[in-house]
């Protein structure tokens, strides 16, 4: 039974993150080949268990599996089957009985990836659990920043928007801090977590105060339904206070990046042409998604552990 999982950033720690980023350099090279596929995980079976619809993330994992020559099984489970009475445990035991080596799981409720090892020996990768964590997104963001700025150590990163409901923010805070960056969370108090005392971050509701100092502006997606529950009075006001407009982008540092986990609400958290802005690395993020997920899968199913094996090339 494996103790190796990527459920949250804490499962990896700094050394695990570093290892996955190092693997990503290899898979980046693989992805540039005429045949961007290696036989590394031949014979391995990876279950993609998506309780929440996410075509992008699912395709990213599916592509990563295929490029590693692993077999992937798709389980898209609507909330209806939960209502039919099949417990999470039943589902996991069923999938496990099919002989899978890893389960990639996305679920609307926090913590589901942590429950899985009770019922399966497979390695677990969290593809997003509620508002809790989304570690592979954080890894690809770290990789993207490293590729563009050299390193994260000493960098100032502002994460802007709906932190409260964001799994991307929670994983990114942990990963950015682990790699030595400092993090400021920006948003109205309604969209901030109730208590961030232990997070090791700064918080502010003044977006303009951080723009000039930040090496990265990480803009979160604003869920459009937040307006109805009075988290913000209107999307227009949100865009005015916290949206990355062209003029705000003007006041960014020279060597700085605009990031967004996608999909974007153009005209809300970012102005309509920010994605094409010279500082934007949003397209890199998407491209790096497959690479990072190849690394994550290989890290769990291939490399086995993070110990380097080099040295005596007796063979």
């Amino acid at each position: 039974m494996t103790e190796n999982h990527i459920r949250g950033i804490d499962d990896l720690g700094k050394s695990g993150i570093e290892e996955i980023l190092a693997l990503s350099d290899h898979f980046h090279e693989v992805s540039t080949r005429r045949i961007p596929k290696v036989p590394a995980l031949r014979g391995k079976t990876i279950a993609l268990l998506f309780y929440e619809d996410s075509t992008r993330t699912r395709l990213s994992f599916e592509t990563a599996s295929k490029r590693l020559s692993a077999d992937s099984l798709n389980f898209s489970i609507g909330s209806s089957s939960v209502k039919k009475g099949e417990s999470l445990r039943d589902t996991i035991e069923t999938i496990s009985a099919m002989g899978v080596d890893a389960i990639v799981v996305r679920h609307g409720s926090a913590g589901v990836p942590w429950m899985l090892p009770r019922w399966t020996d497979a390695a677990v990768i969290n593809a997003g659990d509620g508002s809790h964590e989304h570690p592979t997104q954080a890894l690809l963001d770290c990789y993207t920043i490293r590729k563009n700025l050299g390193e994260l150590n000493g960098k100032r990163i502002a994460i802007v928007g709906d932190i409260k409901h964001s799994r991307v923010a929670r994983s990114n805070v942990k990963a950015f801090l682990a790699l030595g960056a400092s993090v400021t969370l920006v948003g109205p108090k309604t969209l901030m977590p109730f208590n961030t005392d232990d997070w090791g971050v700064e918080t502010t509701d003044q977006f303009d105060s951080v723009i000039g100092d930040s090496d990265v502006l990480y803009m979160l997606r604003m869920q459009l339904e937040r307006q109805q529950k009075s988290f913000v009075p209107s999307l227009r006001e949100y865009a005015k206070e916290y949206g990355l407009s062209d003029s705000r982008a003007q006041s960014m540092k020279p060597e700085s990046l605009i990031m967004h986990p996608g999909p974007m609400n153009r005209g809300v958290e970012v102005s309509s042409n920010i994605k094409e802005h010279p500082k934007s690395v949003v397209n890199n993020q998407v491209a790096n998604g497959v690479i990072i997920r190849m690394s994550a899968l290989y890290y769990l199913l291939g490399a086995g552990s993070i110990t380097k094996l080099e040295g005596f090339n007796d063979e």
Binding site: A40, A303, T307, L309, F312, E315
Partner: protein
């Protein structure tokens, strides 16, 4: 003979304890010269030739061969590096972590590819390398150059160019650097 403690040791750890020197620095240099000439002679020139060093031990040898060929023929031979980790047949059996990313900035179709590695042992690395090579094109021919052939083959693979044939025990290790070739064992390895 002194024990060598390496920054990167195999998974089971331990310290390489050299028992005997098989070649000294001059020996390695001379072997590389001879192999360079053999490659040139065998292929009647260098026009289609590509050297591919296998990570990590074959890379510096491939570069050295390229330098020699440049000196002899005044012609630059492209050198690629290949990490075969993702092609190995023991992934999942032991830890297989790649060392340095592959660098193969050219199509191998119709080229004569000389794979270069430091030690030929079971042949499994070369098997993996041949699988990897074909992902970069369809070479006209694939040849193999190794500094040491230590026997114990498990696959039908033979080298085209050899620095030296060395009979070894299975549990021994061969260490190849520009400074020479040592034969020894790992001590204090974790069980």
């Amino acid at each position: 003979m002194a024990d060598l403690e390496r920054p990167n040791t195999p998974l089971d750890g331990g310290v390489f304890h050299a028992r005997s020197e098989i070649m000294n620095a001059d020996g390695v240099r001379r072997a590389l010269w001879r192999m360079s000439h053999e490659i040139l002679e065998q292929n009647r020139g260098l026009s289609e030739l590509v050297l591919v060093g296998l990570e990590v031990g074959g890379v510096h040898l491939a570069q050295k061969l390229a330098e020699n060929l440049l000196e002899i023929e005044k012609q630059k031979v492209p050198v690629g590096t290949l990490d075969v980790a993702f092609y190995r047949d023991d992934i999942g059996i032991r830890q297989v972590t790649p060392s340095n990313p592959t660098d193969m900035p050219f199509d191998l179709t119709s080229r004569i590819v000389v794979l270069v590695d430091d030690v030929l042992f079971t042949g499994r690395t070369i098997r993996a390398a041949m699988d990897a090579i074909v992902d970069f094109g369809r070479p006209a021919a694939v040849q193999l150059a190794v500094m040491i052939d230590r026997g114990h083959r498990e696959l039908p693979i033979r080298p085209d160019y050899v620095g030296k044939n060395v009979p070894t025990r299975r549990d021994e290790l061969v260490d190849v650097t520009e400074n020479g070739v040592l034969l020894g064992v790992m001590k204090d390895a974790k069980p």
